[in-house]
Symmetry: C2
């Protein structure tokens, strides 16, 4: 766990800088591994990921990675309960970095009361004491900065559950480190990219596996930069949102298209054409592309880059990326 | 089919006015009914709704209505294909009002090639000739205005598939007609409500069954009013979006909270508290509530109201709610 010693958990830039290295830091305990392998051998009917915000987004990434080949449903639930159809042949994975997220604990309780198979991913809190087997994450991170740790754990659990090959995180770390070297060369410096929408609302547009990345980017800009942001998905946005730019968007919204090497050809044409049309509407869209040989590398390289963009935007605006004043205030009022 | 004769399909206001009546207009052919009852008797593993835009949103409504009691997964897919895990024990319902939506036809083809059980809902086009059993909708509507027709068909199919009681649409029509009488009395006139965000970007905020309504509202404002709009969901937005309003939202965004009588108590507190905090941030949020004795009534009464709000906003802005210039242009360029 050498990397962890290098990370100052009070410094968001520091945490995001070590994003690639954090992908390798989590290994499942052999007990838990054995449990999941046994579950796999008996067969599973589906995977239900429960969690909120920064603890939950890894669920969307894993679902996207398996979108084509998944042989059972994967669902991501962000509320106080889980659907009734989740039965003993499913696996429920509850993720709460703090271990104290009220919605997730409520859903976990429902699952445990119904004697469902549950696995937790947490660093602390009530969840650790729930009696459920768990992956123990290093403490003191911001939940959103713990994403690479959570993602590594969740992807490994999913792969074991489905009997799939285990992803080589060390290789991905290396790829992401190489991609970081391109910042400021073949893609803009994160600080420059952030400055392009400093006074606008970024609208992150993704398709397929990059939809999850677009949503993550929206949330990181919200939380780290205290800045409004939205996300949308192609092809769906082609059927409604595209009509919304008749006049009002020009000075307010900055569409940012997340692009990749692994797009279905029809989706590529839609992204190209939507970009062109937004350009003609004088929306001055941006295009962001980090080529990778794998979809998972593409997703993570873009995520790392956009995480850093959110830090740079915070710096430009003079706000502290570590704080979450509104979230804390809301929690205080609800308690 | 008396109502249909009264509707001028070239007049969006006219189509939206008859929203309540259109809920009663679709009855399944007895052949199709028998097919679905037989499928139910053999048992199903899940329901997969495929479609895009205005043809697809009914899938989210049906999913929300069954969220608590569904005994099998329901998924809504908006792309060119369907997940691999959809097998012969699922039902795939393909919805394309025009019958020519490229993404939906592609997904339907995959389903039919894999010998899956498919049912279509359409008014015309290639889908009608696909060889798949279909519910035939009245022609010449705008897909988004055909929502009550599509919804009636889809809910009936779902209820038959699950062996649930069939919804009494005539009763709901009556309730919606009564609720319409409240417009301008206990809730603002749609034109007045529209004027409250004429120069801003509305952000429709929903929770639970009203999340689908928030998304529908965003799309209707986009398409009918040619106006930007976004949507978000509580509790998830409490974990990220709430931080985005530090400074930039004040003059741009109008949060609109969709409220109901059927909220889980913890969700109610979250909506109340988020509303208060947005008020303190000077975002001047709006609150929209149409009390109904059922969740489905609540969803549809709010939908009817917000559909009309989108027409009024178009009128205020002097744009034609019937056209979809950007969507047509995009289709032209892609073909």
């Amino acid at each position: 766990m050498d990397t962890l010693k290098l990370i100052d958990p009070k410094d968001m830039r520091n945490m995001v800088t070590f994003f690639p290295e954090l992908l390798s830091e989590i290994a499942l305990e052999s007990d838990l591994k054995d449990t999941i392998i046994k579950i796999h051998e008996n067969g599973i009917d589906g995977l239900c990921f429960i969690g909120m915000g920064g603890s939950s987004i890894a669920g969307n990434y894993v679902k996207a990675i398996f979108s084509e080949k998944a042989t059972v449903p994967m669902i991501v639930e962000r509320s106080y309960t889980i659907p009734k159809y989740i039965n003993k042949d499913w696996i429920v994975v509850a993720i709460s970095y703090s271990g104290n997220t009220e919605e997730t604990l409520s859903s976990l309780k429902t699952a445990m009361n119904n004697n469902l198979r549950t696995i937790c991913i947490t660093s602390n809190g009530v969840m650790e004491k729930s009696g459920c087997q768990f992956v123990s994450l290093p403490k003191n991170f911001q939940p959103r900065a713990a994403f690479p740790l959570i993602f590594s754990a969740l992807l490994t659990i999913t792969e074991l559950s489905l009997g799939e090959n285990i992803t080589n995180f060390k290789r991905i770390t290396k790829i992401l480190q190489e991609k970081t070297n391109l910042w400021g060369k073949t893609i803009p410096k994160p600080a420059h990219f952030a400055s392009l929408f400093e006074n606008k609302i970024p609208l992150f547009i993704g398709a397929e596996h990059l939809s999850a990345v677009a949503y993550r980017a929206k949330c990181q800009i919200n939380e780290n930069s205290k800045h409004l942001a939205f996300n949308s998905e192609i092809p769906e946005a082609n059927h409604n949102e595209i009509e919304g730019f008749e006049d009002s968007g020009e000075d307010l919204i900055k569409p940012i298209f997340l692009r990749g090497n692994h797009e279905f050809s029809k989706i590529s044409s839609r992204l190209d054409t939507t970009y062109e049309m937004y350009k003609e509407l004088k929306l001055d869209p941006l295009d962001l592309r980090i080529d990778c040989s794998s979809t998972i590398g593409e997703m993570l390289a873009l995520t790392h880059y956009l995480d850093m963009v959110s830090i740079e935007l915070a710096e430009i605006k003079g706000v502290n990326p570590i704080t979450g004043n509104r979230i804390s205030e809301l929690k205080r009022r609800l308690s």
